[in-house]
Symmetry: C2
Subunit: 119 residues, 2 copies
């Protein structure tokens, strides 16, 4: 992931509606969710508004879509999110592993595998 991709991705998730969509899609997983269901889950926002944000997310490379009958199903692109986390950790790891400590603790908790504390 280069600087421009990271900038676009950060811009994508710096909007409340879009951040909520991404988090929703990550939790839902590969199956994804239709534009309409996303709009409903977001409190019944106008369709055109959700469509606008879904398009932004798709252009940012964090989300993808497929048509399924009348619906268009959106889902998170996990490798892209993974790259974004890695981008955020990269610099810090070139000298300051302390930036990663909470992330690593979280990972250890999630996998059940203990991880040594950071120096």
């Amino acid at each position: 992931m280069d600087e421009n991709q990271a900038l676009t991705a950060f811009a994508a998730i710096s909007n409340q509606t879009r951040l909520r969509i991404v988090r929703m899609l990550v939790i839902i997983g590969a199956g994804g969710r239709s534009a309409g269901a996303i709009a409903e889950a977001l409190g019944g926002a106008p369709a055109s508004r959700i469509s606008f944000h879904l398009n932004q997310l798709e252009e940012s490379g964090l989300v993808e879509s497929r048509r399924e009958g009348r619906s268009i199903i959106y889902s998170a692109i996990f490798p892209a999110l993974s790259d974004l986390v890695a981008f955020l950790m990269r610099d810090c790891c070139e000298g300051h592993c302390a930036v990663c400590d909470k992330a690593i603790a979280l990972f250890a908790k999630c996998t059940g595998r203990p991880t040594d504390p950071v120096d």
Copy 2:
């Protein structure tokens, strides 16, 4: 870190100038760097422009400043960056550890301690 803090932080690093400043300050470490030195490192941008971006970063909670003689020294707030990485990893870890794989691999490489692959 709550949603609003995350949104503000992502907005802060979704601008090229600000992202470069943050990365610079992370690499430099606790000692920090003066506003003027930052402006120079960024190719001699106008002081008022850099001041604007430094102020945005400070308001976002990612950076702090202290006066030292005539200079004002800016430095990264490492716990804030750590929280931001953790925020990005939180959802994914509630179900989809695959999002964290690259980050973990990077961490293993940086610390020299191998980490088991993600399920």
